[in-house]
Amino acid sequence: MSTWIELFPDLLPGLWVTIKLTLLALGLGLPCGVVLAGLSAAPSRWVRWPVIVVVEIGRGVPGLIVLYLVYRGLPQVDVVLSAFLSAGVGLAFSTAAYTAEIIRAGIAAVPVGHREAARALSLSPLQEFRLVVLPQALRTVIAPLVGFSIILYQGTSLAYAISVPELLSRAYNAASITFQFGAALTLAGAMYAVVSLTATALAGARSRERVL
């Protein structure tokens, strides 16, 4: 316990990087997810199919491969990003794909009868979407989005592999200097767990799938 207290100040800046990385991926990825969800319902299949393919790729490829691709692959085509930005962009890609699917499912879950009722009341298609479908979809989507954010928070640990000084890197470095692997890694684990469990409890979100 006393080693945990000694190590804590060393790990704290890492927690801060981890949180910043989570927020960056959400900030970049979520708006893209909303757009992709909208496009995946487009009437034209020339729009719909490519979007579905992108979403499936984003959900099907390991997060680690995506990070390597951004950090070690993109420089080859002259896109050079810092390790932190690479991690942010890579995680944002996965975020966009997952949130697009969550939002698409939320829209699809609105009962057909409610859309019919809106039509029978002579609301226009745009009004039908804005006044009837969207408000209901948003409600069903919030819990899985919070659940995803918690998974994303954990997923930022992958950035260790491209040397972003996040929580796990800090713990590993502290451990290699002091040889207190047990204390440093379990403390990092506890710091991940405390944030995850608190967020889960606060949101009451029980829908969690292992994703990244």
């Binding site: 390991p62 691709l69 070690r72 080859q76």
Partner: protein, 215 residues
């Protein structure tokens, strides 16, 4: 370097990735079962520890678990290979996720089935074995298959401690050839190709089950 040459370099990791994923899934499938039963128990001293174990396992990232198994627990087992550490680490997490999937499957069997079974006078164990499990087993197939895909993707973290899977070989190939872009795209395609048949099983099972159980 051509695409074929890159592919050949990565192909050696396919076996490791598949074995690792299936082994961890096997560990989770076995260990998850008692965990699910404890989680559903009416006894608080079984239910609460099970809940705590499941929640903690899922609240810590796979890579961190892997490090704890490899560097901390591994310190007492100097002969533990990275592959074994990965099976243990990912298997632990799989146990927690599969326990929750089992639990949902058991919960999905209607109370009426329990009532009907006890009305015939067969015991709890027989009810589980003959009535509840056969139904729950079907319900569990699609989410378990979906989880298997998630585990396949998670298995990539094993490369970080030196398991020579697809990701590990891709990392090396990229470093040697300096063609990271092509190499990681090929690696991504390999993972997608491996998960496609499982996804197909999940989808087909889902359709069969909805028809068969009239859900």
């Amino acid at each position: 370097m051509t695409v074929m040459e890159h592919l050949q370099a990565l192909a050696g990791g396919i076996g490791t990735t598949v074995t690792l994923t299936l082994a961890a899934f096997g560990v989770g499938a076995v260990a998850g079962f008692p965990l699910a039963l404890a989680r559903r128990s009416s006894q608080w001293w079984l239910r609460l520890p099970a809940l705590a174990v499941i929640e903690v396992l899922r609240a810590i990232p796979p890579l961190v678990w892997l490090f704890i198994v490899f560097y901390v627990i591994g310190a007492d087992f100097p002969l533990m290979t990275p592959f074994q550490a990965a099976v243990a680490g990912l298997g632990l997490i799989a146990a927690a996720y599969l326990a929750e999937i089992y639990r949902a499957g058991l919960d999905a069997v209607p109370d009426g089935q329990w009532e009907a079974a006890s009305a015939t006078g067969i015991g709890t164990l027989t009810t589980y074995r003959k009535v509840v499990l056969p139904q729950a087993a079907l319900i569990v197939v699609p989410p378990a298959a979906t989880y298997l895909i998630a585990l396949l993707k998670d298995s990539a973290v094993a490369s970080v401690v030196g398991t020579t899977d697809i990701t590990f070989l891709a990392f090396q190939e990229a470093r040697v050839t300096l063609e990271g872009f092509e190499v990681f795209v090929i690696a991504a395609a390999l993972y997608l190709a491996l998960s496609a048949p499982v996804a197909l099983v999940a989808r087909t099972a889902d359709r069969l089950i909805s028809r068969r159980l009239g859900l």
